[in-house]
């Protein structure tokens, strides 16, 4: 999927407001199944969740490639949970 189409999808969803929920429930489902690159699927998961939960503020983060620092924060959080759980 071209990034332009992704942007168009986002623009459509954002412009139609709550009507976007219906779009996500139909069109994005087809996109999700058909999409064959992980970025697009991640985007659609995030897009659906963002729109369905009524907030668009997370969208820039879902479009952007994840920062190494953010991934490291989450990895550290997971490691902390595992250490607490089973002992180091």
């Amino acid at each position: 999927m071209k990034l332009g189409l992704v942007r168009d999808t986002a623009a459509t969803l954002l412009s139609v407001g709550t009507a976007g929920v219906g779009f996500v429930g139909l069109g994005a489902k087809k996109f999700f199944i058909a999409a064959d690159d992980s970025f697009t699927k991640k985007f659609l998961v995030g897009l659906a969740a963002t729109v369905l939960t009524g907030g668009v503020a997370l969208l820039p983060y879902l479009v952007a490639k994840p920062g190494q620092e953010t991934q490291a924060d989450l990895a550290a959080a997971r490691q902390s949970s595992v250490n607490n759980r089973y002992g180091v």
């Binding site: 998961v45 995030g46 369905l52 503020a57 983060y61 953010t70 595992v82 089973y86």
Partner: protein, 182 residues
């Protein structure tokens, strides 16, 4: 403020070994390590692994939101689960969200099944953390999740869609823990 739950006893050592290998793997390798580790387990232990990963992943979000915010006064707050996060917290929440697809695949589950497992994991984790000192945001997330658990929150989604009958149930479930606007 550090979130610290009591250590878990009674889990098979083989499962713990897989979980530790997954947690210790490089970020890019985590899903593959989990997938490969799951396949080494006896079939009876695989559901135990799923439950463990679900609880750890639920706690991971709470811990990640509890990390230092690195916020400045100019930061625009990011709404999530009905709370206002800092920009850094928003990035972590978004990354956590996107990670769920890889985790589901590594565990051999579809997104809907993983969403349900995550919901159960949140419930157990919050029960474990009950009474523990949490930072403001983590406490807020815990409060929201306790008030509107993951598995049932989606039913309150605009129009009262039944998540079990919805095509989008799996996707909704990922963030269904939020308090939906009525």
């Amino acid at each position: 403020m550090a979130v610290k739950a009591p250590s878990k006893a009674g889990v098979a050592s083989a499962v713990i070994a897989v979980v530790k290998a997954w947690a210790g793997a490089r970020v890019a390798d985590g899903d593959r390590v989990l997938h490969d580790g799951r396949l080494t387990l006896d079939a009876l232990l695989r559901p135990v692994l799923v439950d463990e990963v679900a609880e750890i992943t639920a706690e991971q979000l709470i811990i990640a939101l509890d990390l230092p915010q690195g916020a400045t006064s100019d930061d625009k707050p990011v709404p999530f689960l009905g709370l206002e996060l800092s920009q850094e917290q928003g990035k972590r929440a978004a990354q956590w969200l996107t990670d769920q697809q890889g985790l589901a695949a590594a565990l051999g589950l579809d997104m809907e099944a993983w969403s349900k497992k995550l919901g159960d994991g949140f419930a157990r984790t919050l029960e474990t953390l009950r009474g523990k000192p949490l930072g403001d945001v983590a406490a807020g997330v815990a409060s929201r999740l306790q008030a509107d658990p993951l598995k049932t929150a989606a039913a309150g989604f605009a129009g009262g869609v039944d998540p079990s009958k919805s095509e989008q149930a799996g996707l909704r479930g990922i963030l269904a823990a939020r308090t939906f606007k009525k």
